[in-house]
Symmetry: C2
Subunit: 319 residues, 2 copies
Amino acid sequence: MPDPSGAAAFAPLTRIAIVGIGLIGSSIAQGLRANGFAGHIAICDREGRALETAQAMSLGDSYGSSAAKAVAGADMVVLCIPVGAMVAAARAIAPTLKEGAIVTDTGSVKASVLESLTTHLPPHARIVPGHPIAGSERSGPDAGWATLFQNRWTVLTPPEGVDDEAIDIVQRFWEGLGANVELMDVKRHDLVLAITSHLPHLIAYNIVRTAADMEEVTEAEVIKFSAGGFRDFTRIAASDPTMWRDVFLTNRDAVLETLGRFSEDLAMLQRNIRWREGEELFDIFERTRAIRMGIIDAGQDTAAPNFGRPESTDEDKSA
Amino acid sequence: MPDPSGAAAFAPLTRIAIVGIGLIGSSIAQGLRANGFAGHIAICDREGRALETAQAMSLGDSYGSSAAKAVAGADMVVLCIPVGAMVAAARAIAPTLKEGAIVTDTGSVKASVLESLTTHLPPHARIVPGHPIAGSERSGPDAGWATLFQNRWTVLTPPEGVDDEAIDIVQRFWEGLGANVELMDVKRHDLVLAITSHLPHLIAYNIVRTAADMEEVTEAEVIKFSAGGFRDFTRIAASDPTMWRDVFLTNRDAVLETLGRFSEDLAMLQRNIRWREGEELFDIFERTRAIRMGIIDAGQDTAAPNFGRPESTDEDKSA
């Protein structure tokens, strides 16, 4: 449960370095301030434009393009960068990392990140990889907001040997931002997320591509009649391409495993349609409703129709 | 463009029969009243509970379980029922249909509906099949709302030989409800909607089923971590099973065609992942963003992140 006492959650920390100030890094910075963190927030990013935006938004206390400088003296480093950039970041911060600093991250794949960090960080670093299951299709610091993690889950995958105090500090950090925290083995995380996040993104990217490539149907028609269901998929398929390329490359085996199952099931549905097996179709379509109800009951999605899109109300806000 | 003059849009009509009072029928009834229709709305449904709800909501002027009685004397009949129920409905209303009455519908597949209606209705009926591209995952009369069709497209697929006046009346009817209207050939409609609506629903049903069936991942985990993308698919997969079974059975060929393309594309993505072809993945993920922008620019989805879900704002409304 979120820690109601705000600032106390961040008590042991006096300087936090956020490496990478995109949607996630920005939401952490905003969440820290909103929840009473009074220490120093050091922000770094390789892109000048992101840094300028972060500075204009007053997201932190210092800004720069050097990760090595940002992490110097920090009690905690949060790597908010694509999974494929972890090795380079670990190498960059290794020389200046404070003795016993906690290094965590927000990457969507955990086995790969853990390996990158343990290989390239000095042994004194206390590594507690993490993954907040929250986000949006937008990218960049101006896409973030302070309550992004509120009532969402953050998974921590601490390796064997890391001390309990470090795990506790990272857990309280996320609870301070409003998240619920669950500890998990890296392998299990990567399999569970393959089905609840990675495969859905792959499928969404794929259907949007298929629609765009249909030579008998114009792109204008696809757009015009997208409210029939297609538009839902385009949101996810508008997610950051670099981040998602890295997810599929680094969680390759679990994604291929879940994709294989998806394709098998789809082949069976295809056969049901070809052979006009209406009862089989009905039974499958009937079963899937229960999961939606479970998600709404668990507070992981809105109960409002159409996700509560502005148009879905009696007041017409869509104009 | 929507007709701003409200009631004038419905001027030639004095009695409208709505056969089937679910989400769509209810939204039509509410929209008619909200936009100034002053004539008689006759509502019928096979299910007593739907009728009771409709009556409690004062959606119409008369209520009953007999379609034959409801359509007697009606200038326009709107069949708001699953595509697979069209033959039975056409047979039921044929004997009492007023000379020259306009018969339209809201089914998601048009070739099949056109055939059902032309085969089973008397020759004097003026048949103008229609399909409003709007809805939600909810079912039943209490799920409807008056502005559901506002700024959405309704496709009409009038057969050759139907008089222009009838087409014009149906077009003005939908414009009066706030919709944009497009005329299309039945075959083209069925192909375009296969990719923008039917395939997305099939894919959504399938991924939810695959996730539910994964023995290594519990349903509780799927629900807990659904905010990673999965939850988006569960909305569509909560749609009415009867309606969607009928769609796949009656638009079989176009669905199989688009599904074949989707599966080919997915196999290629699978190969890209297996062979670690990052550049190919990036290029595909980069392309798909443009379609999202097109949909937002065309007013067919909200620009707000996460569909404007209540949680996606600085005020925390998710609790």
